[in-house]
Amino acid sequence: MNLLPDTYHIQQTFSAYCRTGEKVRLPGVTPNRLKYYRALVFNMINDTMESAFPIAFKNIPVRKWNKMVKDFFANHACQSYQVWKLPLEFYTYAVENNWEEVYDIPYLNDLLGFEWAEMEVYNMEDIPAPPFTLQGDWLETPLVLNPEHKLLSFAYPVHLEANPKKMIQNKGAYFVLLYRDAETGNVEFIDLSPWLAFLTEQLVLGITVRDILDYAPQLNITDTDTLEEDTIDFLQHMQQQHFVLGFQS
């Protein structure tokens, strides 16, 4: 490296100021101009987070939100060279720093996780689906699912409820399937029962519906007369919704 330590240090000081906004002494700068850099840089980060997490931004009081973004940008070294991936670092930082408790927002991790997953699935690289046919046996033939999906579990119904109080009141076990519709490119999501979440997880592994149903009693799933029929109804519905693509060929 040809850079002298003094120049290196000046660049570090300047960038540290942009990240924290804390006063620094730099030689040869025009008075009152540094603040524009801090504003430009910070506004970019803030805008990115606001657009990535619109529900969280709406729910969280402005002072708390600003504190979060400032904390994140000052103390986390942003790694992504693609701005659209930066919200993942924000979400991860929130989880690692226990923001749920620090800011007394119990559903925060779930909400940030859900909003990030929508963006991630929307932008994710195309994943080719394995070959499939439209003819097959719903019970005996392994199904081919849309590979562009994510299965998530939450303690709060962040995907169903926008009201923070109701989210907290309805704490429980929630499962959400997000997938990208190959035709429209839109991200769709659906709330799943624990059984359907288990079913989906196993289907991804190539296990047949018959084998998954056989396993149901071990999960304390009551194997009612209609479980098989209801399960197939769900899968047929998901075929219409472009999540179940067909049968392994």
């Binding site: 120049t7 960038s15 524009y36 693609q82 701005v83 839109n186």
Partner: protein, 275 residues
């Protein structure tokens, strides 16, 4: 050739070509690489219709740290996949202490920085197997300068062998903010190295400060400086940047047409003189 920065906000209008017809488009690889779904399909449609130039955001050529090899690999793959005709970047830094800042910070105008940056440009050019066109960025304060801005730029070009992206609006903004003569500045540049021109609008935020926002129409004095500049250059592609406050397409087409008319006038005249 007069093109426009391709943005998602007006992607469909660009593809339809009904109200706006640029000669080429430009976009940042960082905003489009490694994505799929709807926007990848849109990207494929638009690159089938227009020639593509790329203008990077995250190379951070002025960073004190090592270049990011993984990033360069993705850029190279992307440029090759989309048959990108020219790749430009910024003469600034946006990453320090291993942290991206997503904006263009001014590099200290110093000889050690020149050597450092020239070496990095050579590394990038060698790896990408194509020349880099480096943009002279707008800046709002110098930082610990030990040489003039124009000497700094000339030395980098000389030592690295890079091309220049001359953003005429940036020169106007810098001349205003730092109180120098824009034309005298341009005349001191290695104009034979200019491979590309950018034009944009800006916003005056204080009596003595303009911010380069790309959110307003180009103002007349910048058009005048552009016209004057063309008299000193061989024909190169010209790009209109509009990133915020996106107007109706007819308004952008009006700006493209005005730029195109100036190019025709100046470069036709110049060719006639040469002939």
């Amino acid at each position: 050739m007069v093109g426009i920065g391709f943005r998602r906000e007006f992607a469909e209008e660009m593809i339809s070509g009904e109200h706006i017809k640029p000669d080429f488009i430009e976009f940042a690889p960082e905003n489009w690489m490694n994505i799929g779904g709807y926007w990848k399909k849109v990207l494929h449609r638009v690159v089938e219709k227009y020639p593509v130039l790329c203008h990077g955001l995250s190379l951070s050529i002025g960073s004190p740290e090592e270049l990011n090899k993984e990033f360069l690999h993705y850029v190279k793959t992307f440029l090759n996949e989309y048959k990108v005709q020219l790749y430009s970047e910024h003469l600034s830094y946006s990453k320090c202490d291993n942290a991206h800042m997503y904006d263009l910070l001014p590099i200290p105008f110093r000889m050690d920085a020149v050597k450092h940056i020239a070496g990095r440009i050579r590394q990038v050019q060698d790896y990408l197997e194509r020349p880099l066109a480096m943009e002279i960025v707008s800046y709002y304060t110098p930082v610990a300068a030990e040489m003039s801005e124009v000497d700094f730029i000339n030395e980098i070009v000389r030592q690295s062998g890079c091309q220049l992206l001359l953003d005429v609006n940036n020169i106007y903004v810098n001349a205003f903010n730092h109180q120098y003569d824009a034309k005298a500045f341009i005349q001191q540049l290695p104009l034979d190295k200019v491979a590309y021109i950018h034009m944009a609008g800006h916003e005056q935020v204080a009596p003595d400060l303009i911010i380069d926002t790309h959110g307003e129409p180009i103002i007349d004095p910048v058009y005048d400086l552009f016209e004057w500049t063309l008299q000193h250059l061989q024909p190169v592609p010209v790009l209109l940047e509009r990133d915020f406050n996106i107007p109706e397409m007819q308004e952008l087409q009006g700006e493209l047409s005005r730029l195109k008319n100036i190019c025709h006038k100046q470069w036709k005249l110049k060719n006639e003189l040469v002939a």
